[in-house]
């Protein structure tokens, strides 16, 4: 049941954070979405043994975390929850790749580099996706999607799903609590009860959908979703996008970490 509470808390937290009004929050949602996509695309384009060149990409999430006043711990916790899966896949790499790599006196299997590379990529990609909602919010993201010419009806459906997730998760939680009070010591719902447990929930969801449709059509809904005006992209939004993209591309071409290292150690040309 703790996972239900946890998810509720997570959605609520991100939704709350998205309503702040910092300099990051007021950047146009489409710009933030595109910047995030460029970031992830550049990040994952590094080949599989690359580690040091990935590190400068930490700047972007740190920048957002600090300027947007996002608490670090809950975001990291979320990222860590995703990690086991990626570790599961990543940990196999040293088994299958035993070329050795030498760092001064230390010799390691190159698979470990792959593992580290995947691990860093995953952490960063997950972090920036979560930071995107935490600084933008679902409603503004829907606006960005509309500007990308996603059919309005899909955007409406997405928003409805988001809206009712909250309600249905709460309902699931209440049902689960009621169930476990009458079935102490049991870890989950008995498979024999599952049909009626989830089925009841589903039927209520069906009826709810029907009532929602009624309230929508009473307010003139005829299958077309009329969202409000789309806010304009301003000059400083462009600058934000251009500056970060430039940084990502430079960091892709030059290994900034190695350059800094060279400055300090004197290795190089």
């Amino acid at each position: 049941m703790s996972n239900i509470v946890d998810s509720l808390y997570n959605i609520r937290l991100l939704d709350d954070l998205a309503r702040k009004k910092t300099f990051i929050h007021i950047i146009h949602p489409l710009i933030k979405l595109l910047t995030t996509i460029v970031y992830v695309a550049v990040l994952v384009s590094f080949e599989r043994h690359e580690v040091s060149a990935l590190l400068p990409f930490v700047f972007y999430p740190v920048f957002i975390l600090s300027f947007a006043e996002i608490p670090v711990v809950p975001i990291l916790k979320r990222v860590l929850l995703i990690e086991p899966l990626i570790i599961g896949i990543g940990i196999l790499n040293p088994l299958f790749d035993n070329y050795s790599v030498v760092f001064g006196d230390i010799v390691v299997s190159r698979g470990w580099l792959t593992f580290l590379s995947i691990f860093i990529k995953c952490s960063l990609a997950v972090t920036v996706s979560i930071l995107l909602v935490a600084t933008t919010g679902m409603d503004k993201l829907a606006l960005a999607l509309r500007m990308l010419k996603i059919p309005r009806i899909l955007v409406l459906q997405l928003l409805l799903t988001y809206r009712y997730i909250w309600l249905l998760i709460e309902e699931a939680l209440r049902m689960m609590q009621a169930y476990s009070l009458r079935a102490p010591g049991r870890k989950g719902v008995k498979i024999n009860d599952l049909g009626s447990f989830l089925g009841q929930m589903l039927l209520r969801a069906f009826d709810r959908a029907q009532r929602i449709y009624q309230t929508m059509s009473l307010r003139g809904f005829t299958g077309e979703y009329n969202a409000g005006d789309i806010s304009k992209i301003r000059f400083r939004d462009f600058v934000y996008f251009a500056a970060w993209s430039l940084f990502f591309i430079i960091a892709r071409i030059y290994n900034i970490a190695v350059l800094i290292g060279a400055l300090l150690t004197g290795v190089g040309r």
Partner: protein, 255 residues
């Protein structure tokens, strides 16, 4: 102003499973009237309201809004003039911010965004929640949700306001707020409820439903004092009108 008139002419309605929920219901509600629709659980209040706004269509009889008969064809035009607030505000508030929810109706009627903004702000002002406009509906309290749902209907500037249980599940303070709000509306109102005290405060006329039929239709102070009638319909005299349970003193003289 005859176009604010709402008329039901011998309505009948059965659910697909054969249950006859509304039987031979007729009444006329004129401009500016406030009408309470009361009856026990399952008496058919919600069903009747849904017939009035065209969510359901009667198996016999007809509904007239102004002088226009409610049919599938006239529905879009008529719905613009009827504001219906559902029993459960979670069904009514389906967008991700209160603002978008209140704007949903006006936008569907093709108003431009400036006009929509004016309407939304006015509606939020009327129910006293301008500060909640950017909040997500799922984070509002029960009372806030209820008034937000009312605002989502007011923004369409309906002629007639129809509400199903506007005060159910509210704490005393939120309930009081909704009552004050309802009392201040100049609209024609129809309010279905078990909260007879609220009905007594907000409505001048009362229609009693019993098992789908109209059991009485008259002035609030006549019907709400009529112990026999109310009890035969599964209701009881509003608390505020009952004699003091401690000292037995009369609150109001029986009529």
């Amino acid at each position: 102003m005859s176009h604010h008139k709402l008329e039901a002419r011998s309505l009948y309605f059965s659910y697909p499973d054969g249950h006859e929920a509304v039987k031979n219901v007729s009444f006329t509600i004129y401009h500016g009237e406030s009408v309470g629709l009361i009856g026990a659980n399952g008496a058919g209040k919600s069903t009747l309201l849904m017939l009035l706004v065209g969510i359901l269509f009667p198996s016999r009889g007809e509904v007239l809004v102004g002088d226009v008969r409610l049919t599938k064809k006239t529905l879009p035009a008529i719905r613009q003039r009827l504001g219906f607030v559902f029993q459960n505000p979670d069904d009514q508030l389906f967008m991700t911010t209160v603002y978008d929810d209140v704007a949903f109706g006006p936008r569907n009627y093709g108003l431009d965004e400036d006009e929509v903004k004016i309407r939304v702000e006015k509606a939020l002002e009327m129910v006293g929640i301008p500060h909640l406009k950017d909040r997500a509906p799922f984070k509002l309290s029960g009372g806030e949700k209820r008034v937000a749902a009312i605002a989502s209907v007011l923004s369409m500037q309906p002629d007639i306001l129809i509400m199903d249980e506007p005060t159910s599940a509210l704490d005393p303070k939120s309930r009081r707020r909704v009552i004050t709000l309802l009392k201040n509306f100049k609209h024609t109102k129809i309010i279905a409820s078990h909260d007879l005290d609220m009905v007594f405060e907000t409505c001048r006329r009362v229609i009693v439903l019993n098992e789908g039929e109209i059991a009485a239709d008259g002035m609030a102070e006549e019907i709400l004092f009529n112990k026999e009638l109310l009890e035969s319909c599964g209701l009881e005299i509003p608390l505020s009108l009952q004699n003091c349970p401690v000292c037995g003193a009369f609150k109001y003289k029986s009529i």
